[in-house]
């Protein structure tokens, strides 16, 4: 027993895809998924996606890195095991700069990558779209717009027709395995 996931429309240029997305959203559709072989600029506005918060995540992680590094160097050098080394102070800011900087960068980078994956819900090895044999061309030269059946305005006959009118090369209904 399988249920309908939605309808797929293939376009062969990013411009047509963007047009289609704008048109569909103008009609009030909300549950859309647009897939492209490379980032298509303007597509995210068309879909009305929010700006990615990754910048703030990175900033926070960097701050943690700075704090951790300074704490590490101060505590180990001046508190836990103070040793006279070359008659220098147990802790000083300048010699601590390199380690602090590196640790900040390290944590920030990890945060960005992990954050990106999290926000994208990756890794996710299965997705209904993968059911469609032709979908794999989306990583090659196809630009796909999917309107999910879950969308309140979705209609098994009219939506595909609409997409055809918007210049899709090919429009298919996609069943998703239960």
């Amino acid at each position: 027993m399988s249920k309908l996931y939605g309808v797929l429309a293939e376009f062969d240029s990013p411009e047509e895809l963007v047009e289609a997305v704008r048109a569909v959203r103008a009609r009030g559709f909300t549950r859309l998924e647009a897939c492209t072989p490379f980032p298509v600029h303007g597509l995210d506005e068309a879909l009305g996606l929010a700006r990615s918060p990754l910048g703030w995540i990175a900033l926070a992680a960097a701050a943690v890195g700075v704090a951790a590094a300074l704490l590490l160097q101060w505590w180990t050098g001046a508190v836990d095991y103070p040793l006279v080394v070359g008659g220098k102070p147990f802790f000083a800011l300048w010699p601590s700069v390199p380690v602090t900087f590196e640790l900040a960068v390290l944590l920030a980078s990890f945060a960005v990558v992990i954050g990106m994956l999290a926000l994208n819900g990756l890794p996710r090895l299965y997705h209904p779209l993968f059911e469609d044999d032709n979908f794999r061309r989306v990583t090659d030269d196809r630009f796909v717009l999917a309107v999910e059946a879950a969308d309140p305005l979705f209609h098994a006959n009219e939506t595909p027709a609409l997409l055809v009118r918007l210049g899709a090369l090919e429009v298919r209904l996609l069943e998703e395995k239960a």
């Binding site: 490379f38 050098g77 590196e102 960005v112 990558v113 090895l125 990583t139």
Partner: protein
């Protein structure tokens, strides 16, 4: 550099991809490399580099069993080829991130065809580099004490004032971030390979590696942001790494090491050698895999210009070093530099000048910037020269320092030579494996710079 000052340095108007290729053609051009059986050249090269790699590990085993004494190091020359190789490889490891990060931030779109390979090169070079600081220690089995974990009964910590500790942080951070950057950049292309996979094994492997990427707009939204931030982080990072490596010397009190110009001087040198290595590898790759239309003359030309620029900066740094020594009036400092150009290692210094300062000057002329043979030769010469630069800084400064009574001489042993040759073998092996199994060119990025079939203009 008048030539570059008067007009846009890099030719952006020239088509970055030659001939009008469709998306799928680009895809197959790159994927073909991974999917078809490699050419005979690949097998021969792998056999050679593999053999060298085995030599490498054999020598390192002997080293750990017998001691640093198998090398030529001595008193006063405590560091010699070991640290020379370290700095050499780290230097090479700089072009990759530079191309990916800095050129990306400067919107130098010509980078797209070469950044993937350059990043791979960075990863492998840093791997080779990392081996030396660990195994140049007298007791490598204790080298983990260099990492910031409390050890020896959980009481002792490290000395965070030591530039060697800074190295540990810088190099490991650099390696990790470069790796992340490289991998993140590869996810969409891995997805491509997954979708083109014909065998189950490839499907599974590439499927797992691509983490289930489906190129949805939401993905691309976060993805591009992440990539941008990583680039932003990598840029100061790549500059910091070689600055910190240079601190190993600049922070010491040794004449010839203790110099404030070292950080910029080292960074320039690193980019210089890195680009030379990229040119070297790219020339081979594009020839063997017939990617001339993707890695075009324009790319090569641009890289030659960078070589020219950085090479000239390095030359300037040499001059400044000598001037500072003279101007300081410090007899020890002065002697070191007189000794460099006239002493027992003068030949090495002059080799360095010839390779690093004079050879790149050819690239003032377009005819040379577009002559593969010349480029290939210069790229090798520059890497030789840069290796000698590090050798000169380290050995000629050490072998005659303050007290003439303890002056000495360094002569490499066969093991010094084999260790270095072996590390080259490891580097090439890793690179060959990369060519075979991973997308050499950033497919999705290249598609971004070719005109879309939709209308005539480039897909911005």
């Amino acid at each position: 550099m008048a030539d570059l000052a008067i007009r846009e340095p890099f030719e952006l108007n020239a088509p970055l991809i030659e001939g009008r290729r469709s998306y799928s053609e680009i895809t197959s051009d790159v994927a073909r490399v991974v999917e078809s059986r490699p050419p005979r050249f690949w097998y021969i090269a792998l056999a050679v580099s593999g053999a060298l790699t085995l030599v490498f590990f054999a020598v390192l085993t002997h080293l750990v069993r017998t001691g640093i004494g198998i090398w030529g190091n001595n008193q006063p020359v405590g560091w010699a080829w070991d640290i020379t190789n370290f700095v050499f490889w780290i230097g090479i490891g700089h072009a990759g991130t530079l191309i990916s990060a800095i050129l990306f931030l400067f919107r130098q779109r010509w980078r797209t065809s070469i950044n993937r390979a350059a990043e791979a090169m960075t990863i492998f070079a840093v791997m080779c580099a990392g081996i030396f600081p660990l195994l140049h220690t007298g007791r490598p089995w204790r080298a983990y004490w260099l990492f910031p974990v409390p050890n020896q009964d959980l009481v002792l910590w490290q000395n965070f004032r030591s530039p060697l500790m800074w190295d540990v942080f810088a190099v490991s951070t650099y390696f990790t971030v470069s790796l992340l950057f490289w991998y993140v950049g590869m996810i969409p292309d891995l997805a491509t390979l997954r979708d083109r996979a014909t065998t189950r094994l490839r499907q599974i492997v590439y499927g797992v590696l691509s983490l289930g990427w489906r190129g949805s707009a939401r993905h691309w939204n976060h993805y591009e942001k992440a990539y941008l931030i990583l680039a932003g982080l990598s840029t100061p990072l790549v500059l910091s790494v070689h600055s910190i490596v240079s601190f190993d010397f600049a922070v010491s009190i040794l004449p010839g090491w203790h110099a404030t110009i070292f950080p910029p001087y080292f960074v320039a040198g690193a980019i210089f050698s890195g680009f030379a290595m990229v040119i070297f590898l790219m020339i081979i790759a594009r020839k063997v895999y017939r990617l001339e239309h993707l890695i075009t003359m324009t790319h090569m030309d641009n890289m030659c210009k960078i070589l020219l620029a950085t090479g000239t900066i390095v030359g300037y740094a040499y001059a400044v070093e000598f001037f500072t020594a003279f101007f300081s009036g410090n007899p020890y400092e002065r002697y070191v530099f007189v000794n460099r150009v006239t002493g027992p290692y003068a030949w090495a210094v002059w080799t360095m000048f010839a390779c690093n300062v004079f050879a790149p000057q050819l690239f003032w002329f377009k005819m040379f910037r577009r002559n593969i043979a010349v480029m290939f030769a210069v790229s090798i010469i520059v890497n030789v020269g840069m290796w000698f630069e590090r050798f000169n800084i380290i050995v000629t400064s050490l072998h005659r320092d303050f007290l003439p009574s303890s002056w000495g001489h360094f002569t490499p042993t066969i093991y010094d030579v084999l260790t270095f040759a072996g590390s080259v073998g490891l580097f090439l092996t890793l690179f060959l494996l990369f060519l075979r199994f991973l997308p050499v060119i950033a497919i999705s990025e290249v598609k971004g710079v070719v005109p879309s079939p939709g209308q005539g203009k480039g897909g911005h």
